[in-house]
């Protein structure tokens, strides 16, 4: 069988169905519909890292679907309820167990997010006891006060005996309000909540115990949804050159009373900016191609890709050219490293470090471990 030339260029539109041979082990990157070959040296490892970061920022309309058994990730876009496959990445060169590991980490992020939202919805509608803690493996989510019905009832009885039920009513009201706001917050996962939830789950040691009944002033009431705007506000708008402020204030959100010094474990907090960065005009279909601005796939007509180009790894105008810029990450790098998604510097050999710090990967020496957070360059 003849070898498919387009495949070798990385742009075979038939993919699996192609009648020509797609030799495995060649550079993959089977971008459906894109016209651009991937740049030399950019391989699937990069792809994966990009997926990492971009999914974490998680624009509502984009979604990564992962088939757990395969080394395939599908990026879908849901716009007006229509799901379109934008890119299908195949992690050919990556050792499949590593690929699976990354993929399952991503999967876990999604799962948590989905479970949490669903659980919150159930909690709200089912009428179950509100004053309970809540946890999703591996950790416990903060913001919930745990009070058993007996304790509440005892408070009522003592209040009744002393003749002052108003204090009881007030504290119950307060607890109920706190609960409602926290549940609502978790249910409508804004990007900031997502980040803090993920970081909490990844670092269970930062949990603190919740307040007991009666300590009415638990600072949770303040909703934190408005915070987090410290992030690269303009980070991703079209044509953003700055890609600035990758740093995010630790303890960013008012979840404050407790934990989460790691505002985000991923060092990609900056991406968390909700849709604004992405859904540029009509076509929120952001194309993740690495290629330059001209890359769009069939699904999106609009050249919204310019906004996306910021994500690409290539050291193009939008991206920051050197690790120096990643300095913004630097502050959080140590924390991010804790989460296990990124490697610590110490985990990498000298060569791997060199690869990461270089402008481009050299073929054949691409490290299989994830990069350290501070070397992530976008």
């Amino acid at each position: 069988m003849t070898v498919c030339n387009f495949f070798l260029q990385g742009r075979c539109r038939y993919g699996e169905k192609c009648w020509n041979e797609h030799p495995r082990g060649e550079r993959g990157g089977d971008y459906r519909g894109t016209q651009q070959p991937s740049r030399g040296g950019q391989t699937n490892t990069h792809v994966l890292h990009v997926i990492y970061l971009t999914t974490l920022c998680f624009c509502e309309q984009n979604r990564i679907q992962i088939q757990p058994d395969s080394t395939e990730c599908v990026l879908q876009n849901k716009y007006h309820g229509i799901t379109r496959v934008i890119h299908r990445y195949r992690l050919l060169q990556m050792n499949s167990s590593d690929a699976l590991r990354f993929v399952s980490l991503l999967h876990a992020c999604f799962y948590f997010r989905d479970t949490i939202q669903k659980d919150m919805e159930i909690w709200q509608t089912s009428g179950q006891w509100p004053f309970s803690c809540y946890s999703v493996l591996p950790g416990k989510l903060s913001g919930f006060v745990e009070v058993s019905p007996e304790e509440l009832r005892l408070e009522y009885y003592t209040g009744r005996a002393s003749g002052d039920l108003q204090a009881y009513m007030n504290s119950v009201q307060q607890l109920a309000d706190q609960w409602r706001s926290r549940v609502q917050e978790l249910r409508t996962m804004s990007s900031s909540t997502r980040i803090s939830v993920i970081s909490e789950l990844n670092d269970p040691s930062s949990q603190t115990s919740t307040h007991e009944f009666g300590s009415s002033a638990s600072g949770f009431g303040t909703t934190s949804s408005s915070s987090s705007s410290g992030f690269g506000a303009g980070g991703f708008g079209p044509g953003s050159q700055s890609s600035s402020s990758f740093s995010f204030a630790p303890s960013k959100t008012g979840f404050g009373a407790t934990n989460t010094q790691h505002a985000s474990g991923f060092g990609s907090g900056a991406f968390a900016q909700p849709p604004s960065g992405f859904s540029a005009p009509a076509a929120s279909a952001s194309s993740f191609s690495f290629a330059g601005p001209a890359a769009d796939d069939k699904s999106s007509a609009a050249a919204a890709s310019s906004s996306v180009s910021a994500f690409s790894f290539k050291p193009s105008p939008g991206g920051s050219p050197a690790p120096a810029d990643g300095g913004g990450f630097g502050q959080s790098s140590t924390r991010a490293a804790d989460t296990g998604l990124f490697s610590a510097h110490s985990d990498l050999t000298a060569e791997e470090l060199k690869e990461f710090t270089a402008k481009r990967f050299t073929l054949g020496q691409i490290p299989l471990k994830p990069p350290p957070a501070d070397l992530l360059v976008v």
């Binding site: 659980d119 159930i122 509608t125 089912s126 009428g127 179950q128 006891w129 509100p130 004053f131 309970s132 803690c133 809540y134 946890s135 999703v136 416990k140 745990e146 058993s148 019905p149 007996e150 304790e151 509440l152 009832r153 005892l154 009522y156 009885y157 039920l165 009513m169 119950v172 115990s209 919740t210 007991e212």
Partner: protein, 378 residues
Amino acid sequence: MSLFGTNTGFGSGGTGVFGTTTTDSHNPMKDVEVTSPPDDSISCLAFSPPTMPGNFLIGGSWANDVRCWEVQDNGQTVPKAQQMHTGPVLDVCWSDDGSKVFTASCDKTAKMWDLNSNQTIQIAQHEGPIRTIHWIKAPNYSCVMTGSWDKTLKFWDTRSPNPMMSLQMPERCFCADVVYPMAVVATAERGLIVYQLENQPSEFRRIESPLKHQHRCVAIFKDKQSKPTGFALGSIEGRVAIHYINPPNPAKDNFTFKCHRSNGTNTATPQDIYAVNAISFHPVHGTLATVGSDGRFSFWDKDARTKLKTSEQLDQPITACCFNNNGNIFAYASSYDWSKMSRVNDDCYVHYYIQQQNTSILLSINYRGRGLCRTTSF
């Protein structure tokens, strides 16, 4: 309070009357109602141990009293005696010889009630309300174990005012169970600790809770050799987890199941989820009974993983349940458990007041084939 108080029940002997069309939602199962039940919610029930002839039922209530009834073979109940605390009674238990009853109360004390002389003496003191009390009979010692909301678990020799031993817990004790040589305590914040009681009580293991929400009740079950081998844990979220201590295959042997939810398997409408208030194991067959805030009780077979029977819905939540020593009688208490809190949007106070009526204890007496038993032998 006189024994023949205001709430005289029907006390009629026969059960299992077919064909009656009147729906009495207060006692839809047509079970025997205990005469002169307490005036306020019943928090706990306990039947006398097999060492004593006859069946005596002890019930503690939020009206600060503990009452004792004799249940005769024909189903008649005779009120026998009553004692008072200065705070609501949260838990009761019998000594192994059936001569003494231990009661734990919100007034931070626990008392020993000698039934022969009808005298009580205080045997324990905590810094917070005492939530659980159990009698431990070991070959080389015997004591009373009390778990309290002051986060300690104390062991008392009834003759001394100081505890024999005091163990610190990570959080308030919400429920506990003892089957020598194992004790399980479930605390707030999803804490779960197993203690081993040989020689002297010591912490055996802390277990990561299989449930996501607040723990509500726990009961130990035994294996075929009558050794305690695991426990059932109920939460406020209508779910019970069966957990073995040393299973051959934890992933397969431990499981959770949903119960006390409305709508069954119809997922179209949001379910109402009710707390599991108490769990009790049948002493002979090993089947378990759960009672919930929805006003139903259910029997389950944990080995076959099936539901055996669900009762009709009572008009009030069921707060406590207990099997007698040979498993012929199942007692359950119908009274308010403070669960409507969550459904209240406006004035909570009014709702509580309305609910405090018609507390009753019902006895389901097993005539042959009533469905309490498993079909296969244990």
